[in-house]
Amino acid sequence: MRRLLLLVALIAAQPLFADSNLPPAYWANRQLPDPREEAQAQALMEQLRCLVCQGQSIADSDAELAGDMRDLVRRRIAAGDKPAAIRAWLIQRYGTWISYKPTAEPAAWPLWLAPLALLLVGAWMARRRIRVGRS
């Protein structure tokens, strides 16, 4: 009986949403009428990181804040802003963290140099092999 009650309680349980009671912002889940502008907005949204579900882009995230950021991106694109300007505006607020696009700042140098270093190591190892093969 106790188990049954527990089961019923589990089935009847409702998830607690830490969300507001307001509907999503107008452009959060709505495409811009101009396909060229929508494509620009979509490309940018896929490169902006969600502040709530870190690791997802705002294009993928269901978080309310991500919806509000999609609304902001679409509104600004529709108003004629360049995607680079919107990205720069957000970086000014949240740091480079907010953008998935790698930058050229010193912290990102290992990212750019790693393939080159690995290639050099590979070439060095291959050269040794080739020499051994010849002798």
Partner: protein, 175 residues
């Protein structure tokens, strides 16, 4: 092949494991800090949401006195306990201004009636616009703003009773 090189993969494995264990033991800070600390508050002009409670604009935060700007919401659970700590700060003479994110007038009035109202002004931010322009990533968050309207400190998450001396000293430094 020399002996040292033969053990290189093992050494690499040990190194990688050590890094993994270290990061598990001391997890990275996943809070996103606002890049606006030390910079002027972005200009904004938010409408009022509660009858009789003045609206909030950035101009009112550069009048010579330090302010504590609290980004909150009636639907935010930690805000319920935080608002009581804000009351303590208000009793110590702190000017507290509120930015209500994605809120409805009835819900907010109910929240304030139930938990207390330490706010001098409350601006309504229904689409998180001002929250995003402040570099804030959730509720509750608080900003210490000095008399010239420059952001001096960002508190991520609720202000606990144990944070009161720290917040007071930040406000004192912003004087």
């Amino acid at each position: 092949m020399s002996r040292a090189i033969r053990f290189a993969p093992l050494a690499l494995l040990v190194l990688i494991l050590a890094v993994l264990v270290w990061r598990l033991a001391t997890p990275a800070d996943t809070n996103v800090h606002s890049a606006l600390e030390g910079k002027p508050l972005p200009a904004f002009n938010l409408p009022a949401i509660i009858p009789g409670k003045p609206a909030l604009s950035s101009a009112e935060l550069a009048t010579g006195q330090p302010h504590l700007v609290n980004v909150f919401a009636s639907w935010c659970v930690p805000c319920v306990t935080e608002v009581k700590v804000l009351q303590t700060l208000k009793d110590r003479g702190v000017h507290i201004e509120g930015i209500a994110v994605r809120d409805r007038p009835d819900d907010l009035a109910d929240f304030l009636a139930r938990n207390g109202d330490p706010y001098e002004r409350i601006g309504s931010d229904p689409q998180s616009d001002v929250q995003i322009s402040l570099g804030s990533s959730g509720v509750p968050e608080s900003f210490v703003v000095d008399g010239k309207g420059v952001i001096r400190y960002q508190q991520i998450g609720p202000i606990d009773a144990s944070d009161v001396p720290m917040i007071l000293s930040k406000l004192e430094q912003a004087r």
